[in-house]
Point group: C2
DNA sequence: GCAAGATAGTTTGATATCAAATTATTTGGC
DNA sequence: GCCAAATAATTTGATATCAAACTATCTTGC
């Protein structure tokens, strides 16, 4: 699983404007801090990349394709954690922008494969460079706690992500 | 800022079905683990609460109202981090379900205040109890690292949430 | 006191998401 | 071989979100 899928229903929100601070009830809740950190961190990334180039799942799709060379929409759907139907419009947009190329599968008329164009590869590299810069900032913030942080986050994902969800 | 607002554009997705594991490129990225942990954790909460009772911002709205007694839609918007226009339908739904009550402000014909009904209070308590159970699981997972985890998440939120976003 | 501007809430428009229904093609059972 | 079932992708339907336009009311400046 790799990328930018969405969670429409969130438990807790980020500090929005200059409004209230964290309500007492939420002060000590991991879930709350997880949500706020994730949301603000992503906003930082999105802002750096620019809205035009960071449409919903683009970074994820391009990065997966950069690793795998060629995939079908169904494979991309599974890997990126988004519904197949959602990919239809994303792939159309990426294709219109010349970032990907579609090739019909001669062995299966229903299916086609998707691969990056040279332009798509450049876009992926550009977005990835921004992600790396962003990650460096996170590394700096985490400091010596990085390993612990990743370990705990991994345990959380493993607990809720595997046993009970699907 | 309190609740269930949404981040439509996410950087990274959760492990979806039984699909791929974490791609090498993302293995060491805090942003990725943050995303996956947040998403899977929220799914665990949503599943426990049930879809009927956990419409997008309900837990947040009800909890804020439980603390504040009475608020206007605009205040709720700021506190919950959702656009005012988005609240219109949520408040209508909560009102239809008998969970909140609206009272026109005699001093300002444009405005009204919202408060929990007794039924709304019960629903808030039910959802909160589920959130607490969920939080206990997170506490267990975090173990002795909880304090560090919350501290780092707080630093991330503070870094990206205040200085550059708004 | 009245016109200009601010503010409260709603409506509309553009996206995005998932889930279910649909269409076309391939596979499998017999 | 042929018809049923599975599969690939798309289309459609129901929600949700934000942003901008809109309506109604209140506040200000003069």
């Amino acid at each position: 699983m790799v990328a930018e899928s969405s969670m429409d229903r969130n438990m807790l929100a980020t500090p929005a404007d200059g409004g209230m601070s964290v309500p007492a009830l939420f002060q000590n809740l991991i879930g709350y801090h997880l949500r706020v950190a994730q949301e603000t961190s992503f906003q930082g990334f999105a802002k750096a990349a620019g809205k035009e180039d960071l449409k919903p799942g683009w970074y994820a799709l391009l990065t997966v394709l950069a690793e795998r060379e060629s995939m079908t929409p169904s494979e991309l759907s599974r890997t990126c954690g988004r519904d197949r139907s959602t990919l239809t419009s994303s792939l159309k947009a990426l294709s219109n922008r010349g970032l990907i190329e579609r090739r019909w599968n001669p062995d299966d008329q229903r299916s086609y494969s998707v691969r990056l164009t040279e332009e798509g590869r450049q876009m992926q590299e550009r977005l990835h460079a921004i992600a790396v810069v962003h990650e460096l900032r996170l590394d700096e913030i985490a400091g010596e706690d990085k390993a612990v942080l990743i370990a705990v986050l991994g345990r959380i994902a493993a607990t809720f992500g595997t046993s009970e969800d699907f």
